[in-house]
């Protein structure tokens, strides 16, 4: 599905008197891979929840394929279509997994879509096979390891074949092998022209995967919006937004000053 998926204009969100987001405006096109970067508490998760219609902007306007997303529009008919097209993977898989077995967990979405039982079973089997977790299908989700839980949580969202996938801190708590698996999965989704929006401070994921990045700073506003390469080159911006930090240490007579993160280099000597 081509076109502009999201359009946000002057979006703000407050919890009581505390502002989690201020004056956020951007657009997301179909097939785009967007990273929302920011330090802890900068408002990334709130922004994703707004994009998923779980919370609603206190001020400003959010559009999904030209349709305004508000509590009212979702109530009056958009919900089914919206939920079919947008999937949200939470950072903590435990909150997302509530069925007795992995199989039922992944089948939850297709059954909501009124897909016939036989077709839903096939979908679930296909998906478990594709994600390499068929062996877990009869297991209870709470007995799985963190990496396995994450895979099941992703499978449960992919089961409705969403066009847009929202991921909140997708690499949180994953072991290296599961991280590689996730990178490969995101690569496949990108090749299938799915729109992927992820909130993260994992810069290696951003570098490998995202086309574009938006940086939320600690004042909860968008500090930058641009290509990943340009954003990741802007060390001052990343330092200011508290996404990387600078570190000084000594090797004999040489003092190194370098930023921490995947782009750290040891060539900045003093």
């Amino acid at each position: 599905m081509a076109g502009q998926v999201y359009k946000l204009e002057g979006v703000g969100y407050s919890y009581g008197t505390y502002s989690a987001l201020k004056n956020i405006s951007f657009t997301v096109n179909a097939g785009e891979s967007l990273a929302i970067l920011g330090a802890n508490g900068s408002g990334k998760s709130s922004l994703l929840k707004i994009l998923d219609g779980l919370q609603f902007a206190s001020v400003g306007r959010v559009e999904f394929f030209g349709e305004r997303i508000t509590e009212e529009t979702l109530k009056h008919g958009l919900l089914r279509c919206f939920r079919e097209r947008v999937g949200f993977v939470f950072p903590e898989p435990d909150v997302q997994l509530f069925c007795p077995t992995v199989f039922e967990e992944v089948a939850f979405g297709p059954l909501q879509l009124d897909i016939p039982a036989a077709e839903a079973r096939k979908r679930v089997a296909d998906l478990l096979e594709m994600l390499g977790i068929s062996a877990l299908k009869e297991r209870a989700p709470h007995t799985l390891s963190s990496g396995e839980k994450k895979k099941v949580a992703i499978a449960s969202v992919l089961a409705v074949n969403p066009d847009v996938l929202l991921l909140d801190e997708p690499t949180n708590g994953l072991d290296p092998r599961t991280q590689v698996w996730l990178f490969e999965l995101l690569g496949s989704l990108k090749a299938l022209k799915k729109t992927v929006i992820m909130a993260t401070h994992d810069l290696s994921l951003v570098q490998d995967f995202a086309d574009r990045a938006i940086v939320l700073d600690e004042s909860h506003t968008a500090a930058a919006d641009g290509s990943c390469a340009a954003i990741l080159r802007d060390k001052d911006l990343l330092l200011r937004a508290n996404i990387i930090h600078e570190h000084t240490h000594r090797h004999g007579d040489v003092i190194h000053i370098h930023s921490h993160g995947p782009f750290a280099t040891h060539d900045e000597h003093e």
């Binding site: 929840k49 349709e67 008919g77 279509c81 097209r85 998906l127 709470h142 496949s188 490998d208």
Partner: protein
């Protein structure tokens, strides 16, 4: 970049039609009443907490007192409201509460919002009294006024005291240390579990596609609820074990040792004198 293999054909299918309110198939927001209520309750609990913290941060009469004297003083006025039999005395305590709220810069609307549920609940419970003779009416009004005064004072304490100050104040009072620490930890972790409960409710909401789909299976809803209860029980047990381990690893042997905190100043003594005076007046009248 390497990619996943074995992608099924249905997953490669792209939808050709955007969402539109004009041809929407489903009606209703798909959020079951209990789920919407859970989310709304969690949101209002968080908002209340933020309101309290904001109020407690303002410069004001009660905020300027030592937490221990603030708690002790308000508790003695509450006790005064609980034991007085004199309507004028009770009226005086309500007036004193209003003056304290004003001097502590607590917005009247916030205070009234906190007091209203107790006020309404008491009014409903004692409603039959109002149908009795004149004495019954007076007694009813007196009970409502007593509950209102006590609730308003408690709310005032909560609104003018940061959580950390509340526990710091309790530690200075003759309250068992372990009780205060347990209370603090319960309060601390209840918000972590509250956040988790909110995320669980959001996670379900994000996967609800149609109200009709859910209505087909009431047992699914019950299973969801049961699984969340089980999850939170497991998480709280795990967390309790981890917290205990973390305390033990830092030298905890069963007795909580803390700083003594700041001493009382002149204004605290004046406040305590005034509050205890109100209490003794209540005993007398």
């Amino acid at each position: 970049m390497a990619q996943i293999t074995g992608i099924p054909p249905w997953f490669k299918e792209a939808r050709d039609k955007p969402c539109s309110t004009r041809d929407a198939r489903g009606k209703g927001d798909g959020t079951e009443p209990f789920l919407a209520k859970t989310l709304s309750n969690i949101a209002s609990a968080a908002a209340r907490l933020l309101d309290s913290e904001e109020c407690a941060g303002r410069p004001g009469l009660l905020q300027g007192l030592n937490p221990a004297s603030r708690i002790a003083g308000i508790c003695s006025v509450i006790m005064g409201a609980a034991i007085t039999k004199n309507p004028a005395m009770l009226g005086g305590i309500i007036l004193l509460t209003a003056v304290l709220a004003f001097a502590s810069r607590v917005p009247p609307a916030v205070l009234v919002k906190r007091v209203m549920p107790a006020f309404a609940f008491t009014a409903v419970i004692i409603a039959p009294v109002f149908f009795m003779a004149n004495a019954g009416f007076k007694a009813g009004v007196f009970i409502i006024a007593r509950v209102t005064a006590m609730t308003a004072l408690t709310a005032l304490l909560a609104l003018t005291t940061r959580q950390t100050d509340l526990f710091r104040g309790l530690r200075r009072l003759p309250v068992p240390q372990f009780f205060v620490t347990a209370l603090f930890m319960t309060f601390r972790y209840i918000f972590i579990l509250l956040k988790m409960a909110e995320d669980a409710a959001f996670a379900k909401k994000s996967r609800l596609i149609s109200r009709a789909g859910l209505r087909q299976s009431q047992s699914q809803n019950q299973r969801w609820f049961a699984s969340r209860v089980a999850l939170f029980l497991k998480k709280s047990l795990d967390m309790a074990e981890d917290v205990m381990g973390a305390m033990a690893s830092r030298g905890f042997t069963g007795q909580v040792k803390t700083f003594d905190g700041e001493g009382l100043r002149q204004r605290d003594y004046i406040w305590l004198f005034a509050a205890f005076f109100v209490f003794f007046l209540s005993v007398g009248f």
